[in-house]
Subunit: 365 residues, 2 copies
Amino acid sequence: MASIISVNLPENSYSIHINAGGLNNIGEKASHLAIGKKILVVSNPEIFDYYGQITIDSLQNQGFEVNYHLIPAGENYKNLESIAQIYDTALKCRLERNSTLMALGGGVVGDMTGFAAATWLRGINFVQIPTSLLAMVDASVGGKTGVNHPQGKNLIGAFYQPKLVLIDPSVLKTLPEREFRAGMAEVIKYGVIWDKNLFEALESAQSIDSLNNFDEALLNDILTRSCQAKADVVGQDEKESGIRAILNYGHTIGHAIESLTNYETFVHGEAVAIGMVAAGRVAVKMGLWTENEAHRQDELIAKTGLPTTIPHYLKVEEIIDHLQMDKKVKDGKVRFILPEAIGKVQICDRISSEILSETLSVLID
Amino acid sequence: MASIISVNLPENSYSIHINAGGLNNIGEKASHLAIGKKILVVSNPEIFDYYGQITIDSLQNQGFEVNYHLIPAGENYKNLESIAQIYDTALKCRLERNSTLMALGGGVVGDMTGFAAATWLRGINFVQIPTSLLAMVDASVGGKTGVNHPQGKNLIGAFYQPKLVLIDPSVLKTLPEREFRAGMAEVIKYGVIWDKNLFEALESAQSIDSLNNFDEALLNDILTRSCQAKADVVGQDEKESGIRAILNYGHTIGHAIESLTNYETFVHGEAVAIGMVAAGRVAVKMGLWTENEAHRQDELIAKTGLPTTIPHYLKVEEIIDHLQMDKKVKDGKVRFILPEAIGKVQICDRISSEILSETLSVLID
């Protein structure tokens, strides 16, 4: 089962190949791109143990000159220092302007490799092989790359498009279940903001809290629908000046919670899950969304085994204060994405501190 | 005397305003751009002493909320650490996506501010006020931004276009004479690669080794012609995949000499001057250029008071080895820009080590 999604942009369009077992043929796919002869694969030790050799063999079989660079796993290493280390390896391998950085890993590896590609020699080629569900449905589409600032997630970065994204669903078998569920948070997000059918497919499935409950067809369907949703939105607004903001549904409060817990308590998708619950409640309070649909969303999140409440040791005031620092602030107002119906959201920046404060208070454990 | 040059690009076109005394009206010019309310001015202490207050007053008079960030002067500070410090200030000032970084200074300040603008919140607005001749005619046109890697100049960076460039020639009065002459190297370059009339205007001028020898009309003419030359080239090839490479005339060997002398012996333009002499000699040896025209070029460089020889303590072999590491290498071959006639160059990557070695040997002091 395979599908190809085109991400159509004014410049730098590219394709996402969703293809079980496709990793074995990455060399052949890469050989159809105009990406020079030298490839530096960036990965983390665990992923590289699983899939590094397959990738390198496939590339070398097609005549590529391949090196690799490993970054320890985790959001803690998503910083400028890790980028400087990629630069050092790029220099050692004498990467040239037409050479390629290839990300083999989850969102952290993808974001950092993309940023290094965007900024080494003022931009070299970038190919992405996401190995987590989150990276497949989110980070691999849309060209957001970057690292964290000590005081905020993804504050440093660039928009930079890959030449190719290869999604091989068969690599999900080595993904920890917690990471799988975290990825499902973004899948649910696409259901709420864009694709009602996707939402209902997930509602109909008996159990979705583990990869084992997905057959190949359902898995392919949710990957394709999720990537298509994101490609649709990004194709309309590459640089996030308008509609693209809807992809941040659940992320405004999600980012604040991640940051205030030092990226240690929650993985990204878990924080987004809580953020979606919060945004849904705000939407209901604002009279935009029905309680019934908000409840269906919360049920789906809970069914996936994702958290729906804020830990008791966080204070409402510190969350609200943190929102002010988020990069989605515009002229001092915090922007929220709020559902109107399953499959449809609006951008709203007229939310009072009172509504926010009331909503967050109720959600605290 | 004022002129406006349009830099026409597929996306992100912008204007260069050349306007004596224009700095007094930067606020009014900025108010016509859609660049938010917050501006962070980046400068170095000396330049800021001269022109910081004028700039800030003019901006504040138009209602902008202005902060500033100073970086010590010099190529030694053109590194990722300085960028991280700009990020910290950007965070403190709570710059938002529609806020602006404004470079007030020479090439180093411009390149770093541009890179910070390109990578903070994945890209915020950028306005450039170049205060050195070099920055006016080179760095301010074309969107190259970046910092040095410990092992090579400008290896880290991005293409990122400003919203506006303001060139106020009256600020050149505080530029050290050595820096003025260094800027003249790039002006001569435009004469050789693109604009024969510019070259001949410089040849006709009695003396060009100091700003004092330029009347307002000649100064305005060389600024306008130089920026126009660069805008013409960049407009045809924003990302340096083709013709833009001709702007590197004199830079291949120039960069090697700068780097091998630890950026301490020569300022950029002086190294480029030597690089142009070397490239001219290679062109003559290859039978592409006449000895007579190469001689005219060398005379013009000497008349400007720029160096034309390589210091005795550099070895031919180390220069050639360094060229291999330069980012202009493509598939292992070093690319040179070689003149065919005054006003016309070609890109050439079939230069033997022998020719290079012979040329460089002769030029060593």
